[in-house]
C-alpha cells in the first residue's frame, strides 16, 4: 500500500489547475463515498482500525505539499545571501523549478504539474496584484499617472503591433521556414507578448532599489497595461476566429470601444469595490477578529466580478487596493491593519514563489517544446529592440511636457526592465489549439522569452544599474521633521500656483485633497478617526510607538526594568500635558547632549532613549537590592491582577486591552518619555560603558543576608500606599549608602516608566526573591496592598502573556516556578499558592486564586 501511495501523487494528480478547481467537487464526492462506506456497511467485513485513504485527501494534500515545497525552496535560496545578491530570487526559483520538473518527469515520464491558466489567473495572481495596489504609494502613482498611462497604453499597443508585424514580415521573407501562422495570428502572439509582467517586474526591481520615479513608471506600467493586453488579446482572438475576410472597420471600431469599456470599466469596478470595503470597515467594530478578512474577500470579489463582466480584472483589483488603503487603515483597529499587511505579504510572496517555481516546472515537458530557431530568436530580438524604441520615443514626447524630465539612463533601465512573465505564459496556454496550429511553438517561445527576461535580464539588471550609476532610492528613516517640511512644502507649491494663477498639478491635487477630506473621508471613515488622521500626526504616533517598543526591548535586554509605579504616574496627563512640555523643554534644550549620546548609541544598538542610561547607572551600585525592591513593588501590585484572570480561549476575540484610559495613558507616556528622558539626563548621568548582563543565580548569591532581611522588613511594613513604599525603599537604600540615585530614579522614573511594560518583568521575579526573604515576608507581609494599587491594575493577562511567553502555557504559576527556581522549593507551604511575591497577605492571595 505504501508503494502505491508513493506512486499515486504523480499519476493520479490532475494538473494542479484542474486540481484546485476540482478540489471542491472531488472532496464532496469523497465525502459521499465515505458516507456510503459507513452507511451501507455491506462491503466492510470487519471494523477497520486504520485505513489508508490517499484518494480521499489527494488533491488538497498535493496542493499543500506543493506550497510547502515552494516555501522550502525559497527558504533554501534565501539562506545564501551571496548568491541572491548576484542572481535574483525569481531566477533561482525558476531554476529550482527546472530541477523539480526534472524529477517529476523522471518519475512519471510525463509532466503532471504545469502552471495552468486557471490556477494562475484565479488563485495565484489576484493576491499579488491586490498587494501591489494596497501598498501603492498613491501620491507618486497619481503624480506620474500621465506618463504611466502613455507607456501602458501606447507603449503596449506599439509593442504588440510592431512585434506581430515584424514577425510576419520575417515569415514572409522566409526567415523561419515553413510555419502555418497568418498575420492575425502573429498579431495575437504579439499582443500576448506585449505586456510587461507585474510579477516579474516586482520581483526584479524589488531587489535593485532604483529611484522611486523610475520604479513607479515601470511598475505602474506593468500593472495598468493589463487592460490593454486583455483587450488586444480578446480582440485578436476574436479576429482569428472570424477570419481575415470578416474583419471590417466596424469590428475594428468595436475593438477600440471595447478597450475603453474594459479598461475604464475595470478601474471603475475596482473603485466601487474599494469604496465598499471602506464602508464595510466603518462598521466592523464588533467583529474585529474577522475584519481583515473582508479586505481579501472583497478584493477577490472585485477581481472575479471584473472577470465575469469580461473587464480587466487586474485593473479592478489594483484600484480596489489603491482606493481602500487609506480608509481601511484608518477605520480598522491597529492590530487588524497589521494583520492585513502581513497576510497580504504572506499571500503575495507565497504566490510569487509558486508562480516562479511552476514556471520552471512547466518547462520540463517534451510535448510543448517545438523549436524554431528563427521564430524564437527573432521574437527575442524584436521584443528588446521595440521596447527600447518605444520607451525612447514615448519619453521623448513626454519630456517635452514633463516638469522633471526622465533622464537618458532612466530610459535605458526602463527599457531593459521590460520583463515578460507568467501573464504572457498564461495567455499563451489559453490559446485555442484548433485555431492556432502552432500553439506549442508559441508557448515554447513565450517560455524562452520569460526565462530570458527574468533570468538573464534579471541577473544583469543589478550590474547595469550600478554601472550606469542610476539614481538609487535613498534609504531614509522616517523622520518627523521631513514629514512636517513636506507638508509645508506642498502647501507652498499650491499657494504659489494659486497666486501666480496657474492651474497646475499641485492645484489639482489640492482641490482633490480638499474634496477627499470633505466628502470621501466623511462618508468612508469612522467619525472617531476622521479627526486625528493627519499624516504628520500618524507619523508622530508611529515614531512614538517605535520608541516605546525599542525601549522595552532594550530594558529586557539589560535584564532589569526599573519600572516603578508611584503616585506621579497617575497624573491626569491630559490636563498637565501642556505645562509639562513647556516646563520640560528648556531642560531638554539645555541637555541635548545626552540625547546625542543616545542617538549615536542608537546606531550601534537600538537604545531608544536616554532614560535607560539612568537605570544603568543606578544599577551599578546596588543592582541587587534595587531589583528586589522593584520586584517587590511590582509583584505586590501586579500579582493580583494576573491571578484574577485565567487563560481564556475565545475564537472571536483576543483579550485585548479595552481600557481606553489606559491606552491613552500609554500613548501619552511614550510621548512624554521622549521628553522626560532628556530631563532626567540633567542629573548628570554618564552614558553606559558596558552593558553587563548578570545571571539571576549570581544575584542570589551576592545577596547579603542580613541586609536583605532588614530591607524586606522595612519595606513590607509600609505597603498601604505607594508613596509610603517609595519613601521606605529609599530608606532601604540609606543602609547601602547612596540614597540619591535612587531618589532620582523614583522621581524621574515617573515619566519614563510605563505601566504597560511592567509585566515584562514578571517571569524573573520569582527567582529573584531568595527563599529566606520568602519567610520573612510571610511574617511581615500581612498588609493588604493599597486599594489604589488594586484598583489601578487594569492589565489583563492577555497582554502579560504576550510579553512573557512561557506564562502563556502555564495556567498555574506553581509548576513554572518550581521548575525554574529550585530555590523556591525550600518553601514547604503547599497550601499557599506559590507566588513568592512578598507582601500580599495569604488570605487575600487565596482569594485571588479562587
Amino acid at each position: 500500500q505504501f508503494n502505491r501511495s508513493n506512486a499515486t501523487p504523480w499519476i493520479c494528480a490532475a494538473p494542479l489547475a484542474g486540481g484546485v478547481s476540482a478540489a471542491a467537487v472531488r472532496q464532496s464526492q469523497n465525502r459521499t463515498r465515505m458516507g456510503l462506506n459507513t452507511g451501507h456497511g455491506s462491503s466492510i467485513k470487519e471494523v477497520p482500525i486504520v485505513t489508508f485513504k490517499w484518494h480521499h485527501v489527494e488533491t488538497p494534500y498535493l496542493i499543500a505539499l506543493w506550497i510547502l515545497v515552494a516555501g522550502l525552496a525559497k527558504m533554501v535560496i534565501e539562506a545564501n545571501h551571496h548568491v541572491t545578491n548576484v542572481i535574483p530570487e525569481s531566477a533561482l526559483l525558476i531554476c529550482f523549478g527546472f530541477i523539480l520538473g526534472g524529477m517529476v518527469w523522471g518519475a512519471d515520464k510525463v509532466q503532471t504539474f504545469t502552471l495552468t491558466p486557471t490556477v494562475f489567473f484565479f488563485y495565484l495572481l489576484p493576491q499579488i496584484i491586490l498587494d501591489a495596489g494596497y501598498f501603492m504609494p498613491n501620491k507618486l502613482f497619481f503624480g506620474n499617472m500621465g506618463a504611466i498611462l502613455i507607456y501602458a497604453i501606447i507603449g503596449t499597443c506599439w509593442n504588440a503591433a510592431s512585434l506581430g508585424l515584424s514577425l510576419w514580415g520575417c515569415h514572409k521573407g522566409g526567415a523561419m521556414g515553413d510555419l502555418d501562422i497568418g498575420l492575425l495570428q502573429y498579431l495575437l502572439f504579439g499582443s500576448l507578448m506585449a505586456a510587461v509582467d507585474p510579477v516579474a517586474v516586482i520581483a526584479v526591481f524589488e531587489q535593485v532599489h532604483v529611484n522611486e520615479v523610475l520604479f513607479i513608471l515601470v511598475f505602474g506600467e506593468s500593472l495598468l497595461n493589463d487592460g490593454v493586453t486583455v483587450v488586444l488579446f480578446n480582440v485578436f482572438d476574436a479576429f482569428v476566429s472570424l477570419g481575415g475576410s470578416q474583419i471590417d472597420a466596424v469590428e475594428i471600431i468595436k475593438g477600440i470601444i471595447s478597450f475603453f469599456v474594459v479598461a475604464f470599466g475595470g478601474s471603475l469596478l475596482g473603485f466601487v469595490f474599494g469604496l465598499l470595503v471602506s464602508l464595510l470597515t466603518r462598521c466592523t467594530k464588533n467583529i474585529q477578529i474577522i475584519e481583515p478578512g473582508f479586505i481579501f474577500v472583497l478584493g477577490y470579489l472585485a477581481y472575479l466580478t471584473a472577470e465575469m463582466l469580461s473587464l480587466s480584472a487586474i485593473l479592478s483589483i489594483v484600484f480596489c487596493g489603491v482606493c481602500c488603503q487609506k480608509y481601511i487603515n484608518a477605520n480598522m483597529d491597529e492590530k487588524s491593519v497589521s494583520t492585513v499587511r502581513y497576510t497580504m505579504k504572506v499571500l503575495a510572496n507565497g504566490s510569487e514563489t509558486m508562480i516562479f517555481v511552476f514556471l520552471g516546472i512547466s518547462a520540463i515537458d517534451k510535448t510543448i517544446w517545438v523549436w524554431n530557431t528563427g521564430f524564437i530568436l527573432l521574437t527575442l530580438l524584436f521584443i528588446m529592440v521595440y521596447r527600447f524604441i518605444g520607451v525612447f520615443f514615448l519619453t521623448w514626447i513626454l519630456n517635452r511636457y514633463r516638469l522633471v524630465p526622465i533622464g537618458f539612463i532612466d530610459q535605458v533601465i526602463m527599457s531593459y526592465g521590460g520583463l515578460r512573465g507568467a501573464v504572457a505564459y498564461g495567455l499563451a496556454v489559453m490559446l485555442d489549439e484548433n485555431k492556432i496550429k502552432e500553439k506549442n511553438l508559441m508557448i515554447s517561445t513565450t517560455l524562452i522569452v520569460v526565462y530570458f527576461t527574468v533570468i538573464f535580464q534579471g541577473i544583469t539588471m543589478k550590474p547595469l544599474v550600478t554601472w550606469l550609476k542610476v539614481k538609487r532610492a535613498a534609504v531614509t528613516e522616517l523622520t518627523l521633521i521631513e514629514k512636517v517640511q513636506n507638508k509645508v512644502f506642498d502647501h507652498v507649491l499650491v499657494a504659489i500656483e494659486d497666486i501666480s494663477g496657474q492651474i497646475g498639478h499641485n492645484y489639482m491635487r489640492d482641490k482633490w485633497n480638499y474634496f477627499e477630506e470633505k466628502w470621501m473621508s466623511w462618508a468612508l471613515m469612522k467619525p472617531s478617526v476622521r479627526k486625528s488622521r493627519d499624516h504628520v500626526f500618524s507619523v508622530f504616533h508611529q515614531l512614538n510607538l517605535k520608541d516605546a517598543m525599542s525601549y522595552v526591548a532594550e530594558g529586557e535586554r539589560r535584564g532589569s526594568l526599573e519600572f516603578i509605579r508611584n503616585e506621579s504616574a497617575f497624573i491626569d496627563f491630559k490636563k498637565k500635558f501642556g505645562d509639562e512640555f513647556s516646563e520640560a523643554m528648556p531642560d531638554i534644550m539645555a541637555n541635548m547632549s545626552d540625547d546625542h549620546g543616545a542617538a549615536s548609541d542608537r546606531r550601534r544598538d537600538p537604545v531608544p532613549s536616554v532614560s535607560l542610561e539612568m537605570h544603568e547607572q543606578t544599577m551599578k551600585g546596588m543592582r541587587e537590592t534595587e531589583d528586589i525592591n522593584t520586584h517587590h513593588l511590582l509583584q505586590q501590585h501586579l500579582y493580583k491582577g494576573r491571578k484574577q484572570h485565567r487563560h481564556r480561549y475565545s475564537r472571536s476575540h483576543f483579550d485585548v486591552n479595552k481600557d481606553e484610559n489606559e491606552v491613552q495613558e500609554i500613548f501619552q507616556r511614550t510621548m512624554r518619555s521622549r521628553l522626560e528622558s532628556f530631563k532626567s539626563a540633567k542629573m548628570g548621568v554618564a552614558p553606559p560603558k558596558t552593558i553587563s548582563k548578570y545571571s539571576k543565580k549570581d544575584q542570589q548569591q551576592k545577596m547579603p543576608n542580613g541586609k536583605s532581611l532588614d530591607r524586606s522588613k522595612s519595606y513590607y511594613s509600609g505597603d498601604e500606599d505607594f508613596e509610603f513604599s517609595e519613601g521606605d525603599s529609599a530608606s532601604g537604600y540609606d543602609a547601602s549608602g547612596s540614597t540619591f540615585p535612587m531618589r532620582v530614579t523614583y522621581r524621574a522614573g515617573a515619566g519614563i516608566e510605563n505601566p504597560a511594560f511592567m509585566p515584562d518583568m514578571d517571569p524573573m521575579t520569582p527567582i529573584q526573591i531568595p527563599p529566606w526573604l520568602m519567610e520573612a515576608e510571610l511574617d511581615s507581609g500581612m498588609v493588604a496592598p493599597s486599594q489604589r494599587a488594586q484598583v489601578r491594575l487594569p492589565w489583563t493577562p492577555s497582554n502579560l502573556r504576550r510579553l512573557a511567553p512561557f506564562r502563556a502555557s502555564a495556567q498555574s504559576n506553581d509548576s513554572f516556578m518550581l521548575a525554574d527556581a529550585p530555590a523556591t522549593q525550600q518553601r514547604d507551604d503547599e497550601e499557599l499558592p506559590p507566588p513568592p511575591s512578598p507582601p500580599p497577605p495569604p488570605s487575600n492571595r487565596d482569594g485571588g486564586y479562587m
Partner: protein, 220 residues
C-alpha cells in the same frame, strides 16, 4: 503704440535677466499681477489674502509673508515691504522656476540654495539665522491648524519632537551644557536632503495665457 511696445519689451528684457523667466511667462505673470492688484502699480497683503483659492491654505500667512520679505529679493536687505511692485513679485516667483536643459551645474547649485533659503526664511521670522523652537512651534501649529483635532498641544508636541530630531541628527556630540538654539540653515539643508526639495520645488509657468480662465474662476 510701437514705442511703448518696445519700452515694455526693454523692461521685460531687464526682468528676464534678473529672474530667468521667458517673455511670455513674464507677460502672463504681469497680467496676473494686474488682476490681483486691480491695475495698481503695487500689490498689498490684502490683495493676496483675497485670493479665493488660498482660503483653505493653512500656512497662507507665512507664504504671503514671504512675498513681502525683503530677504527674498536677494538685495541683502532685511525687513518687510508694505507693498510690492511687479519686479519684487516676479523675484519671489522665480524661486519656483524649473531648471531648463540649458542650466549649468553651478546655476543649479545656486538655484537649489535659493530655493532652500526661501523655505528657511519662511520659518525664520526674526531673521537671526536660526529657526528657534518658538518659531518652529508657531509654524507647525499653523500648518496643522486645519487638520482636525490635533490641537495646539499636539502641534506643540510634534514641533518639539521634530526639533529634537534635528538636534540629534545634526549635532551628535554636544557638551552637556550646550543649548540647541535652533535650526541653522546648514542643518536645514541637511535634514531636507532626503526630500529632494530642489528637484521638486517647481511649478509650471505656462507660456500660454491662462488668466482668462482664472477670471472666470475667481469671480465665481
Amino acid at each position: 503704440m510701437g514705442a511703448s511696445q518696445t519700452r515694455s519689451e526693454h523692461k521685460y528684457q531687464d526682468l528676464m535677466d534678473k529672474t530667468g523667466f521667458s517673455v511670455e511667462q513674464i507677460k502672463n505673470l504681469h497680467k496676473r499681477f494686474e488682476q490681483l492688484s486691480g491695475n495698481e502699480e503695487t500689490i498689498s497683503r490684502e490683495n493676496l489674502e483675497n485670493i479665493p483659492a488660498l482660503a483653505n491654505n493653512p500656512i497662507r500667512r507665512q507664504i504671503i509673508g514671504a512675498f513681502f520679505d525683503k530677504r527674498n529679493q536677494h538685495q541683502n536687505e532685511v525687513g518687510s515691504f508694505e507693498e510690492i511692485g511687479f519686479e519684487q513679485f516676479l523675484m519671489v516667483m522665480s524661486h519656483f522656476r524649473p531648471p531648463t536643459l540649458k542650466t549649468t551645474e553651478e546655476e543649479r547649485e545656486t538655484m537649489r540654495k535659493e530655493k532652500l533659503r526661501f523655505l528657511f526664511n519662511m520659518h525664520d521670522t526674526d531673521n537671526d539665522g536660526t529657526i528657534t523652537l518658538e518659531e518652529y512651534r508657531k509654524a507647525v501649529e499653523e500648518l496643522l491648524s486645519k487638520s482636525g483635532a490635533i490641537g495646539q498641544e499636539g502641534a506643540k508636541a510634534i514641533a518639539d519632537a521634530a526639533m529634537l530630531e534635528v538636534a540629534s541628527t545634526n549635532v551628535p556630540h554636544m557638551a552637556p551644557d550646550d543649548f540647541y538654539e535652533g535650526i541653522t540653515f546648514e542643518h536645514f539643508e541637511q535634514i531636507l536632503k532626503g526630500l529632494e526639495m530642489e528637484s521638486r520645488m517647481h511649478i509650471r509657468f505656462l507660456d500660454v495665457d491662462t488668466t482668462t480662465m482664472r477670471c472666470g474662476r475667481s469671480t465665481s
